[in-house]
Symmetry: C2
Subunit: 432 residues, 2 copies
């Protein structure tokens, strides 16, 4: 089952794969040295788009759900990576408090939760669930799809308010699997004695995609020099507009101008590489997730011509978070196919390690559209393939492990960018 | 393909599996704390024997070959563990010098070498091969079974003799895959600036199995208390005799007395648990490997009745190393079967992580004999099984992942014992 090789790689991407596979030891050493200076987020998933001539991350999620979509073969890898992560934060940790999303009635999300609890348990932690949802006012039973029953209860402050925990449960680590789209709750403020992972400023009320891709720019510039490729091959152009109000039609000039400037840059690159595809950009909320507030645009005139329905769709994202900052990102075609439907690879990492991935597949969407939408399904990526090692001898573009390795490398560049982004946006660092 | 479940577990081992699976978080935390105090060997393989009522390590190899026998699915796990190990010794390492066994004409060994080179390369290291064999006097081409061609050359001292390397190759780490049965070569003495892994005193001219099992006694005593089981369930009795000369029939009294005392202790335990099997002991060289110099004994009288051929067989092991120290170890039946042949699990670890394993299978041997002998073949253990996580809800003794987890735990106890053994026997520590 290797659906992804349906996509033929061409020109620049073939070259990239060749360079990446050839340079494996230097690449791994480069990452090792980077991780001396930067701490990876606890976990992370990265959406990639493979256009055949270009491979780029388009979204980096610091509160990944969907661990249930990874193949079961990858579980030992995830456990091992979790052990490495925990050892860094709390080597003598016994207890981990997991804070899930508020919508705990979604079966898929509960499957994710069950998988996460098992991973943490295997890594040597007692896991309990703490909620920041207003609906959870006391201990509430939660039956998970794997048959296990857990109790979820409201977070409380313990140890004279110095720490966060549950009654009779004093965790060393608080792991957020809630992206804080509904705001950062007061109870999580001023947590100094415990590891709060990821930190509050990774939540979508504070985080901005444009900060992430600015950090990614810097990471890619250095990486591209290391292996000798054009950074554009793995990096989408982007611009950014603030003070947008879609409903009130404010900021349209900024948007239109930036859409145009990104399109001009893409056209120039397409000419350079002789690419015949039609350039497009993705306009999306600079904060927020869940595939909401996303638009595919092929011409700046589309921005000024938005109808009311389209404007409404763009103006709010998950949990009613209002959109005022917008990122205009080079669109990357997704020419990968699973059973003839458009597919994009999603790579999962824990600590600095790739622990699996899957294809997000959508048979109602085209190769220039966002696939993170209702109707998508998931096909595990065979990262632990029988021939999981890159093969230097293979013809570029023909070997599964080589392509997966390249996916893992690009996803880790986004991971590194996330860690640099979080350093740069850390409010406590700014205060010093 | 789950051949191992042919062995029904009974009484004490069912109890062990139950306790181990139940206590997963405490066990993993316990190991995590142990690894704060002790550094695991770079790599290690452990031979286990499963008697249904008892599960015990019988040999702990610090220079494991046979990496080629691990399933390809386990490769990413091994790479990840290698990264963790390297980071500890040489975070900015570029170069690793691998010192293979001297018998580089054995195809199976060359497959092992090819696998090791790939693992190291994937972990971000340039690998070159250095030899301590007298037969390698200059750069010699070595064609590996995977089609790659490497050059093996004699080790030299570089940097004014302060370091070990090759011409134009200055490694940070020197990884021995040569157990030094033929002695510790002078060129490896006084290596202070580089990581020599494992250290010279892990080589068979210095190492003693009895030191290992003494350390294992201590580890198991503490672990058994943690999970509330009789330590004997995972620990074979042993005694030790020195100044043995099989050829000259010296030391036979010591041997016979100790064989008897171990048999008496086993009988007592068998009575306690109502075990009907016939007790036996394994008499083997206290130093050395390769399944040489090993004897199964069921009565002390067999020792004094050895004929010349048997005495000759016991008196030397690999590379002609003479046997003067002998360990008398409780025999553990191997009631596991693969295709009706006796099988024993071998678990591989890199750093502190289980990275795979296989069954060593021998259809010409009985369940009370050593299986590490010509004619053995290997069946990968499905450590990365579709349901690789232990399942608390499963009926004890019925679930593959639960049994594999138990194997991994016991193997890691032996790994921990090895690290304590190496601390205790470190000549530099003794000098302080």
């Amino acid at each position: 089952m290797d659906p992804h090789l349906v996509t033929a790689l061409n020109g620049p991407l073939l070259e990239l794969e060749k360079n990446v596979v050839e340079a494996t030891p230097s690449i791994e050493r480069w990452f090792r040295l980077e991780w001396q200076d930067h701490t990876p987020p606890f976990y992370c998933s990265v959406d990639l788009r493979n256009a055949g001539f270009k491979l780029a991350p388009v979204d980096t999620n610091l509160f990944p759900g969907g661990f249930n979509n990874l193949s079961a073969e990858m579980v030992p890898l995830a456990v091992q990576a979790t052990m490495a992560a925990i050892e860094k934060y709390c080597p003598d940790a016994k207890n981990l408090l997991l804070v899930p999303e508020n919508h705990t009635r979604n079966t898929y999300y509960l499957q994710n939760l069950a998988r996460l609890i098992k991973l943490m348990r295997m890594a040597g932690l007692n896991v309990r669930l703490g909620s920041i949802s207003e609906e959870i006012t006391g201990p509430t039973e939660l039956s998970l799809p794997d048959g296990s029953v857990h109790v979820i209860e409201p977070l409380i402050r313990i140890n004279n308010g110095r720490r966060v925990g549950l009654p009779d449960f004093n965790p060393c680590t608080i792991l957020l699997n809630n992206d804080l789209s509904s705001g950062s709750p007061a109870i999580l403020n001023e947590v100094y004695e415990q590891s709060l992972l990821p930190p509050l400023h990774a939540g979508w009320t504070i985080r901005r995609k444009s900060n992430h891709f600015a950090a990614y720019d810097d990471v890619v510039r250095r990486f591209a020099k290391l292996i000798g490729v054009d950074p554009w091959i793995i990096n989408p152009f982007f611009n950014h507009c603030s003070e947008i109000n879609f409903a009130a039609r404010e900021g349209e000039e900024c948007l239109a101008a930036n859409v145009n400037s990104v399109l001009v840059k893409i056209r120039r690159k397409y000419r350079e590489y002789g690419i015949k595809e039609k350039p497009f950009v993705i306009v999306k909320a600079d904060a927020g997730t869940y595939g909401m507030g996303i638009m595919t645009v092929t011409d700046a005139s589309e921005i000024t011509g938005l109808n009311r329905k389209q404007r409404n769709k763009m103006s709010v994202v998950k949990e009613g978070l209002e959109v005022s900052d917008v990122i205009i990102q080079e669109g990357v075609h997704s020419f990968e196919r699973v059973d003839n439907a458009v597919a994009e690879p999603v790579v999962y990492m824990i600590d600095r390690y790739v622990v699996g991935g899957f294809y997000r597949v959508h048979d109602q969407r085209s190769e220039i559209e966002n696939l993170n939408a209702p109707g998508a399904h998931f096909v595990p990526l065979a990262f632990s393939h029988p021939h999981a090692l890159p093969d230097k001898a293979a013809e570029p573009g023909t070997a599964v492990p080589n392509r997966f390795y390249m996916y893992g490398v690009v996803a880790r560049l986004a991971l590194l960018a996330a860690s640099i982004e979080l350093e740069r946006t850390d409010p406590e660092m700014a205060a010093i």
